[in-house]
Symmetry: C2
DNA sequence: TTTAAAACATGATAAAAATCATACCCATAG
DNA sequence: CTATGGGTATGATTTTTATCATGTTTTAAA
């Protein structure tokens, strides 16, 4: 069982230098601190569900979350992976729509909830934070557009390699410096890559045979990152 | 040759009620009006190029523009279609990066340029506009995520049908009420769908044989929209 | 500890889509 | 007028990927 530090205040939060909120004015941080509600979600639990209305935004203190979209035929598509410091649920709230994706916890996760009214109010009165928010949205939009292009143009082999590198960028390695610091099922990896589960399993085996990765249950070790980058065939 | 109304002022601009800028404070609109630089681009011309630095944002007064992304192997991916009232180039500017896509004019287009400093300054001092901007970004992000899911999960036939409907949503029909009001090459349609040009040509012929569309050079008529919607297999 | 269910793995096959090849049409430059 | 090239069209073939089938392993529950 994961042990969590008690979340006392936003002022002392571990994420206070990495989250978007770090640029908010002091007075608003105080206010957020007073109104926030913290919660711990266990692996597999849902923070919010596609189709329901947003009542605020969620700030991840510690943990890992997947954001997934339901395809028209019910198949999951994972559109983002989130970690401590990331904010969640702002997209729907700003658009004034229902959630277009579900947030599901990948491992025990501590999350602070900030009510809609407060969030909107702070955004309207704190240009700095508003600006950070726009930057965040722009960055997400950029990532989505790049992914879109790769999805349209790259073969699965390249996309799987890219996805492994993306997981590494997001969650990093365990203390051994080579094991990806998250446990995802083959199906989840497939839903991140945008392919059939069997294809993902097959290609992972190939990567293993090629010596690029090592597989041990859900543990994935990246043995030869350079080769993996070459396999991903990335420009930059 | 397209004839353009003289763009006198933002205050009398045809797009003043549809663009994001409609929510800006009066004083800022005045300032924008004074500093804007209008330009006419001819079909095929480039407004800005992927990889270069943004110096401002562009506001389309009249015309049609495609935003396209260069894939790692050089293949074009069209990520957005723009029309009068749409703003262009804000993504890179807000992220503080180079343009990640090129803006190329599909037909003679009139565009107003707003310098970076002014745009940023207005955003920082006009919460209303900043909010509209966040909304716009959120909407774009949503669209990108939906497209991403469809790209990953739907067959080309469905995606082509969806793309035709999307073109119709964006540019509407000509006065006959059935001809798509834009001329795109088969290759451009393919780059919108995310497929090979030949596949697009083949499927368009099938759609024609099925009586859903009529083809006459680059003119595309939507004859049976309901069937096309069914072919697209959309949830909502 | 046994047992059921879920996840993983792998081969065989089928379907989807890309690629290659060729031909046609048509606008326009010489 | 005619030649040239770009876009369109279509068939043949290959490649990629999904699906189906089946067995194995792992996980979690009784």
């Amino acid at each position: 069982m994961t042990h969590f530090h008690e979340v006392s205040t936003c002022q002392s939060c571990e994420q206070r230098f990495t989250s978007v909120f770090c640029k908010a004015k002091q007075e608003f941080i105080t206010e957020i601190n007073e109104q926030k509600v913290c919660n711990i979600y266990k692996k597999g639990q849902t923070i919010f569900n596609e189709g329901s209305y947003p009542f605020g935004v969620y700030c991840i203190n510690q943990g890992k979350v997947k954001l997934s979209h339901q395809g028209d035929d019910g198949k999951e598509q994972i559109i983002r992976l989130l970690r401590g410091g990331d904010v969640l649920g702002y997209r729907a709230l700003l658009s004034g729509e229902r959630y277009s994706a579900s947030a599901i916890v990948l491992e025990d996760t501590q999350v602070c909830f900030i009510p809609k009214e407060l969030f909107i109010n702070v955004l309207k009165n704190d240009a700095g934070l508003a600006f950070e928010m726009m930057k965040l949205l722009s960055d997400e939009l950029h990532k989505a557009e790049v992914k879109l292009t790769h999805l349209a143009q790259k073969p699965i082999r390249e996309r799987l390699a890219e996805t492994l590198l993306f997981i590494k960028e997001t969650y990093g390695f365990e203390s051994d410096g080579e094991t990806l610091n998250v446990r995802l099922s083959r199906e989840e990896i497939a839903n991140l890559v945008g392919t059939a589960t069997e294809s993902t399993i097959r290609l992972l085996s190939e990567f293993k045979k090629d010596g690029m990765v090592e597989l041990e249950g859900k543990k994935i070790k990246i043995l030869r990152q350079k080769e993996l980058i070459k396999t991903a065939n990335l420009q930059d």
